[in-house]
């Protein structure tokens, strides 16, 4: 039967993360954006909340059952605090969840226990490629099998935390199908091409990668001979990013609402005017609709259904929604919205990224 309330565990998780977002992330996110650097302690504390370990099976040292719905609830709360911080905290999920979903038994035993430590594991994933017609299902980076090895060639962009990562999960096309390969840092031919300068999420260190004849053993292919179900991985990412977009948009809406109630012009709060109030109402409806789409997709996914269609439709809605809501938040603040003393311009810059963020977080 229909129900749209969190269970006790989800509520507790949401409250915990909500507090962390309010008390920690919101305090540092502007400075972090300006400095283009995330405070390590905040990221560490975010990791220590333990979202990922609770969604990994006990068999591999985790202590929970995986639920995309619960993940979505949690990510929304993180992203309400700050998106760059969220993506840093979630970076390990870009390796852990694909391993959990598609890994061989040996890969699960090797990698999953890494994610149950108090220490944040130094791993990241490289999916995105620096080109206009980028399609995660048809990558330009290639993987070619040669003598029991794979040889990877190509370039990657927006690889979070690459500078400190010990293991990369690199996505590449093998015979036209997207597959993923573990590449240890320092492998010959793997070059980190430098810290990138992005429009938003500036506090998140992302890097470009160059892969020239990078050779890894065949067992480094995620999922072994069978490989991966890339749609499944992408769908898990879209739920995570959808939830993050909802968190960001909710932050924008709430901020704009408070501002509009306090900002007085023509002798009364600007929120007394329908032109402002209706904008706010539509922002709120958009945020709620988006959350429901994320939850429904996650719920179907938890039931084991293929949600490629739902996830695509949801992503289409979300990408527009988050941009539009963030834009309306800036508009509500008028000139102040454009000033960096206020958070809304930062949220607008971050919001535009969702159209390109595929793969940067998974639940």
């Amino acid at each position: 039967m229909l129900d749209f309330t969190l269970d006790a565990e989800q509520q507790m998780l949401a409250d915990t993360i909500g507090r962390f977002s309010q008390e920690r992330m919101r305090k540092v996110f502007r400075d972090a954006d300006e400095a283009e650097e995330l405070p390590a302690d905040v990221v560490r504390e975010g990791w220590e909340i333990g979202l990922l370990p609770t969604s990994l099976p006990e068999k591999y040292g985790g202590f929970g059952e995986h639920s995309a719905v619960t993940g979505a609830v949690a990510v929304e709360e993180f992203a309400w605090g700050d998106l760059a911080g969220t993506l840093a905290i979630m970076a390990p999920s870009t390796v852990a969840i694909p391993v959990m979903l598609c890994g061989t038994e040996a890969q699960k035993e090797t990698y999953l226990p890494l994610f149950t430590d108090m220490e944040m594991p130094a791993v990241t994933a490289a999916l995105t490629e620096p080109r206009v017609q980028y399609d995660p299902r048809h990558l330009a980076t290639t993987a070619t099998r040669q003598n029991g090895h794979y040889v990877l060639e190509g370039t990657k962009t927006m690889v979070p935390l690459a500078g400190v990562s010990e293991t990369f999960l690199v996505y590449a096309a093998e015979d036209g199908n997207t597959q993923a390969f573990f590449v240890p840092a320092g492998t010959e031919g793997l070059q980190i091409t430098g810290r990138e300068k992005l429009m938003g999420v500036r506090a998140l260190p992302t890097f470009g990668l160059k892969l020239e004849k990078v050779t890894v053993p065949a067992e480094n292919k995620l999922g072994g001979e069978t490989g991966i179900n890339f749609d499944l991985i992408l769908n898990h990412s879209r739920v995570a990013l959808g939830a993050a977009a909802v968190g960001l948009a909710r932050a924008g809406f709430e901020y704009a609402r408070e501002y509009a109630k306090n900002r007085r012009q023509f002798g009364e709060p600007i929120a007394h005017r329908q032109s402002i109030a209706f904008m706010l109402a539509n922002m709120a409806i958009d945020v709620d609709a988006a959350r429901l789409m994320v939850w429904e997709t996650a719920w179907l996914m938890d039931k084991g259904q293929d949600v490629t269609r739902e996830a695509t439709v949801m992503k289409h809605f979300i990408d527009d929604m988050v941009l539009n809501v963030a834009d309306r938040a800036v508009q509500t603040l008028g000139g102040y919205g454009y000033i960096r003393e206020y958070p809304v311009e930062l949220w607008l810059r971050n919001a535009r990224g969702f159209a390109t963020f595929d793969g940067l977080a998974l639940v």
């Binding site: 229909l2 129900d3 309330t5 109030a277 429901l292």
Partner: protein, 419 residues
């Protein structure tokens, strides 16, 4: 716990409803659109025996509850609103105009159930348990009182000699008004003021039954769409009804307060707005499915794994249609789910109504566009769906009124603060 599951029992009932929609309603869709004011007999004759049986059981339950005193408390969420909403969606997928002609107590019945005493419920609702088809209706709107219900001028004056209410005034845009009063032994719940000075506090709902002297149908509207649905103007000229036909108390609360009766009947919006949204989404689904199928025949279908840059403009329109459909439908289900669990859903009901009316309007207009000359042709039903759709953006509170309700609620503002 977050759950999108529709109970199996409702799903099974929906399968049967879909047969009615596809085999009884759809074949007659064009006919009744072109023959306005003609009763959709096939649908009515099919539905009446079924509804009559359901109402009979309902009346028996009411009777036995009456003997036991209070209603038995049910544990767990109620599925009745969800069932209703799902049926409305499916029937509207069949034909929204015919759905609106369903022989049932409709909004009038909802008000009687929400505020009426057990005696009143018996007196007014048991007619739906036997005999010929009957209709219920609600009359709120007046020529000078559309969105502004506080401007209602219809008066109800108590004649102390006969202990009767005397009604005077004119109501318009009353769905099934003529069906309820002229074409069957039904009733209309009429909103009138017993104290014009008291604003909303003086507004009360009264049950006016078919055959009441002084009540006449002045006009049956000619509309853009939902032509199979009767939309009546009703004139009350010293229409006398028994004192006990008032729903709720006759107390007037001042200055801006509301009585239980007003609040109770207003509460019917919490269910009726999701119901309108569901009807809207039924039309939207019909248009979306048809457009997808027809374009597929032409070799145009949306590949959900394609990146945006590979989508044609038409494919992108299909994606947008689906996104708007899904988002509005989920908002509707949420409003229903909250009510089913006993939570207040005033805000969510307005949210879903505002968004569903907008979505169905856009989706059906887009469907006409995408199908080109065929979309515009009366050979197909798509143009009809576009005409049918628009009413959902208007009745049960226009999108603007519902947005205003949402805005006030989110901002914590009164009517005075946010006009």
């Amino acid at each position: 716990m977050i759950d999108f599951e529709i109970p199996e029992k409702i799903k099974n009932e929906l399968n049967l409803t879909q047969m009615v929609a596809a085999q009884v309603m759809r074949p007659k869709s064009r006919y009744y659109d072109e023959h306005e004011h003609e009763l959709p007999q096939e649908y009515i004759q099919f539905m009446w025996p079924v509804l009559k049986e359901q109402n009979k059981r309902k009346m028996e339950k009411l009777r036995s509850n009456g003997q036991n005193g209070a209603r038995p408390e049910k544990s767990g969420p109620s599925t009745s609103l969800l069932r209703l909403i799902m049926l409305i969606e499916m029937l509207s997928w069949g034909d929204a105009g015919q759905y609106l002609s369903t022989p049932d107590p409709a909004l009038g019945g909802a008000a009687v159930e929400a505020v009426g005493t057990p005696e009143q419920q018996f007196r007014f609702l048991s007619r739906f348990a036997d005999g010929e088809p009957k209709w219920g209706a609600m009359a709120m709107t007046e020529p000078g009182a559309g969105s502004d219900t506080s401007a209602i001028r219809t008066t109800a004056h108590l004649d102390p000699d006969t202990n009767e209410w005397v009604l005077n005034g004119e109501k318009i845009f009353c769905t099934s008004g003529s069906l309820a009063l002229e074409q069957s032994q039904g009733f209309v719940v009429v909103w009138a003021t017993i104290d014009p000075e008291a604003g909303r506090g003086g507004m009360k709902p009264f049950v006016v039954e078919a055959g009441t002297p002084g009540v006449s149908i002045a006009k049956r509207e000619h509309k853009m769409g939902i032509r199979a649905s009767d939309t009546a103007a009703i004139v009350f000229n010293d229409a006398r009804i028994p004192y006990d036909n008032i729903l709720g108390s006759a107390d007037v609360q001042r200055p801006d307060g509301t009585t239980k009766g007003f609040k109770g009947a207003m509460k019917t919006f919490d269910a009726s707005r999701p119901a309108v949204a569901a009807s809207a989404m039924g039309i939207a689904r019909a248009a979306l499915e048809y457009t997808q199928e027809r374009l597929k025949e032409e070799g145009i279908s949306l590949d959900y794994t394609k990146p945006k840059f590979e989508l044609t403009a038409v494919e992108r329109d299909l994606l947008e249609m689906e996104a708007r459909y899904k988002s509005a439908w989920l908002l509707t289900l949420r409003a229903v789910g909250m009510m089913s669990h006993g939570h207040s859903n005033r805000l969510e009901a307005s949210m879903c109504k505002a968004r569903a009316g907008e979505a169905v309007t856009w989706i059906t207009q887009k469907a006409v566009e995408l199908l080109g000359p065929l979309g515009y042709s009366r050979e197909l039903l798509v143009e009809k769906w576009m005409r049918d759709a628009k009413i959902n953006d208007i009745y049960e509170g226009t999108k603007q009124i519902n947005t205003l309700i949402v805005a006030r609620s989110l901002l914590g503002y009164s009517r005075r603060e946010l006009k």
